[in-house]
């Protein structure tokens, strides 16, 4: 059983690393797609939390995530429209969506305090992964200055979310 758990954890770690693998330079349409996908993933996770969470701070956090990520994604859509860029699906977006779907399914089996803890812990981890990718990969790869600017603001917002999630996680202990 422990071997199986360890193998599963190792597989998960490999997968999350793979979503943002260094490799071919990303294009602006791909970067826009990845950023938008990350937003959609967090909105979906938050909507599940709005329905399932029991702690009031966790519920409030989920409300904040839906509100902020919807606002940012609206800005992103407005920008790609203005720039006449068509977001392009890619392996990173696909890997992110697949991981997120698995995580949602895993979280859906939990309830009560165990769910609250797992959701918030995943929010900390997810924002960390996305912020790291924004900083090291997406922002440096973006060519259009307006897209770069939006990603930079996005990074500040998501760093705020990461700290907020950490505060909520600390309160739950």
């Amino acid at each position: 059983m422990f071997v199986r758990l360890a193998a599963a954890l190792a597989a998960m770690t490999l997968m999350s690393g793979a979503a943002f693998a260094q490799g071919a330079k990303l294009t602006d349409p791909q970067i826009a797609h990845i950023a938008y996908t990350a937003g959609v993933i967090d909105i979906n996770a938050a909507k599940q939390a709005q329905a399932k969470a029991s702690n009031k701070d966790v519920k409030a956090f989920a409300d904040d995530m839906v509100r902020d990520h919807e606002a940012v994604n609206k800005q992103a859509l407005d920008l790609v429209k203005k720039l006449n860029v068509k977001p392009e699906d890619n392996d990173t977006s696909k890997a992110l969506s697949k991981q997120a779907a698995d995580k949602l399914a895993e979280l859906s089996k939990l309830s009560g305090a165990a769910y609250d803890k797992a959701y918030v812990a995943n929010e900390v981890a997810f924002h960390k992964t996305v912020n790291n990718a924004l900083e090291k990969q997406l922002i440096p790869s973006a060519s259009n200055p307006e897209l770069k600017g939006l990603l930079q603001t996005g990074l500040k917002i998501f760093e705020g979310h990461e700290q907020h999630a950490e505060h909520v996680a600390a309160e739950l202990k």
């Binding site: 902020d68 606002a71 609206k74 500040k156 917002i157 760093e159 705020g160 700290q163």
Partner: protein
């Protein structure tokens, strides 16, 4: 000018001076792209602080010690009349990486 009007004007001015202390000012602080500027502001008791949120996101101006918590909806302004002297560190509850300081002199 007729003395009667003059007396009225003096009365109005005197009343105004009583209602609003001479030093009362409105200090504007802007929140834009998750940056609070100026990050450090000095004011006096009786002054009004006006936070202008230029972002599409909701922010708050929340004192670390819990003395105030001003909600700032997207593209909206919130105000606070300063009643207590002291140095107040504050932050945004939704984005705790947004931090600033308000120094209030008596």
């Amino acid at each position: 000018m007729q003395p009667r009007y003059l007396r009225l004007m003096v009365a109005v001015l005197a009343f105004g001076a009583l209602a609003i202390p001479a030093h009362a000012a409105t200090i504007q602080i802007v929140m834009e792209n998750l940056v609070i500027s100026p990050a450090e502001v000095s004011a006096k008791v009786g002054d009004t602080v006006e936070w202008v949120n230029k972002d599409v996101l909701a922010h708050t101006a929340t004192a670390n010690n819990g003395d105030f918590d001003v909600m700032l909806p997207p593209k909206k302004t919130g105000t606070l009349v300063l009643k207590k002297a002291g140095t107040f560190d504050y932050y945004c509850r939704f984005h705790p990486n947004m931090k600033a300081t308000l120094k209030v002199e008596p």
